[in-house]
């Protein structure tokens, strides 16, 4: 439904037939289309602006490789900048004394509970870790049951549910059980919350202070629009995010939120959620996400061959 960047740039490519170094006019014209493509992919406006400025700086005056057109050259530079901004793939950090606490946070419905179970399954199968899952979500109906069922599906440990217990107490009890029963990792799933909800943000900060998590993962839906910058900034400022997970990349959203969040927090994207099943967790590939944001895997591979 979106015009891909390659077709958008078609006209610009046509006009940029000249060889030699890229002129400021060539670049500006091409970047106008890139700007629209990024905005349509839901990259947040302030991030788009900074990004375009840095691409422009890099592109103007560059020599165009003989085998490609100036337009393709601009696209290659855009793609490279995008990959750089998205950052490299980083694995989950478990470099701490066991049990290692991992805190999962994010807006309502972003995929925290599912992702908690996915990470548990991955750590269990790939790294042979003994993982305990604990739900601190005392608000959403049946949230604790949901995690308990998923823990059973993943065949990992699950903290017994005590009705009426507060999140901080649940977190402490989870760590205690983790120590007592020799768990390597304790994953704390929290209730969905708005970054502007003072009370709930204070609550999760209290949980953080109680357990000092090694990883605090912000879980964000790949379909998120312009608000991605606000929520990522606020979660990072108020709780201190160490990494991010982008869920629902199995959908057809262009996923510009990835770039927005990465740009405002500087924190790495650690995993991609690619389905509802517990094995649908992927490590982050910046080049694939870049191609998707631009809606143009074709041109990128073409340019890479050049």
């Amino acid at each position: 439904m979106f015009e891909s960047l390659s077709s958008r740039l078609g006209d610009v490519f046509e006009r940029l037939k000249r060889r030699g170094a890229l002129s400021e006019t060539d670049v500006s014209e091409a970047l106008r289309e890139v700007r629209v493509a990024l905005l349509e992919a839901d990259v947040a406006l302030p991030v788009v602006k900074d990004f375009i400025a840095s691409v422009k700086e890099r592109a103007v005056g560059q020599d165009v490789v003989r085998s490609i057109t100036p337009g393709q050259m601009v696209v290659k530079i855009v793609h490279d900048c995008l990959v750089e901004t998205l950052g490299t793939a980083e694995d989950i950090n478990l470099a701490a004394a066991a049990p290692v606490p991992v805190l999962m946070v994010g807006l309502q419905g972003s995929g925290k509970t599912t992702t908690s179970a996915k990470i548990a399954l991955r750590l269990k199968t790939l790294d042979k870790k003994k993982v305990l899952l604990a739900s601190l979500d005392i608000y959403r109906p049946a949230a604790q049951q949901q995690l308990e069922i998923l823990a059973r599906q993943a065949d990992v440990g699950s903290l017994p549910i005590l009705m009426g217990e507060k999140p901080v107490a649940i977190a402490r009890r989870a760590m205690e059980m983790g120590r007592r029963e020799g768990y390597d990792v304790v994953i704390l799933d929290t209730a969905g919350r708005l970054h502007i909800d003072e009370a709930l943000m204070a609550e999760v900060a209290e949980v953080r202070d109680a357990v000092t998590p090694t990883e605090t993962l912000l879980v964000v839906d790949a379909m998120t629009g312009q608000d991605a910058v606000n929520l990522a900034r606020e979660f990072n400022e108020k709780i201190g995010v160490t990494g991010m997970v982008l869920t629902r990349v199995d959908g057809d959203a262009r996923g510009g939120a990835a770039l927005s969040m990465r740009a405002v927090t500087g924190r790495p994207i650690k995993f991609l959620g690619a389905g509802e099943k517990l094995d649908a967790l992927e490590v982050f590939h910046p080049d694939r996400v870049a191609g998707r944001i631009l809606g143009m895997g074709d041109v990128v591979s073409l340019v890479e061959k050049a």
Binding site: M1, L39, E40, A41, D42, H195, D221, M223, T224, Q226
Partner: protein
Amino acid sequence: SRSSSRLSQGITDLFTKRKLDEAALEELEEMLIAADLGVTTAARVAALLAKSRFDQEISPEEIKSALAEEIATVLEPVALPLRPDPANKPHVVLVVGVNGSGKTTTIGKLAKSFRDQGLSVTLAAGDTFRAAAVEQLKVWGERTGSPVISRDQGADAAGLAFDALKEAQARRDDVLLIDTAGRLQNKTDLMAELEKIIRVLKRQDPMVPHDVLLVLDATVGQNAHSQVEIFRNITKVSGLVVTKLDGTAKGGVLVALAEKFKLPVHAIGVGEGIDDLRPFEAKAFARSLMGLD
């Protein structure tokens, strides 16, 4: 809230003692983009304003009100509440949408509002896939005094919906709200499952479902276009509910959706609580988008 006040502040800065010239218009357009209106709609709305006010001295307040009015005009025709037809016993509402958009919670809130109107409501736990989805809906059933018809996780959703319809018909209930599992619109197998639910319901009564509600999360950006387009093609969506408008996302994509699809927006979700459902009001929504009120 934050984004709207930022938008509002931006406009205030921009138009204090300033002419509405090209540069000002461009910045204005960008502010609309930052509210998720999308590039095309933002340009169109800004252009409308330019037509009448270009090169005039214009105050920030004027510009905000004028823009809010333009947007409200687009939204006004789609601001229509969901009204169960008393002739239908039951009036069947199928609730669909992508994962985590707020379907189950919205059903709980709708059930509450119908119960408050004195209607009898039955809930059907059509999400037979997600862990504890049935338990979640049962809690809403208890909260609203509505019976919940369910099967075990993994059961056939269409079969469950069929049973629920027969049961609600036998009881001559006023409303039957059918929950469904979240599904991304590009998953053809899951969309086919939705088609099957409708097909099976129609076997019992060709008029059912009377309404198909698509629940959209206000935090979602331009992908909402694809959601509406595909869900509408497959299920004949009759109306929308936009959730999570209590956050900083203001759901600006709705302006473009209203222009393009003209689907009624029945209600908005403004929280996780049972009473956090509001009628959709075009003027209020538009003014909130512009950071007014």
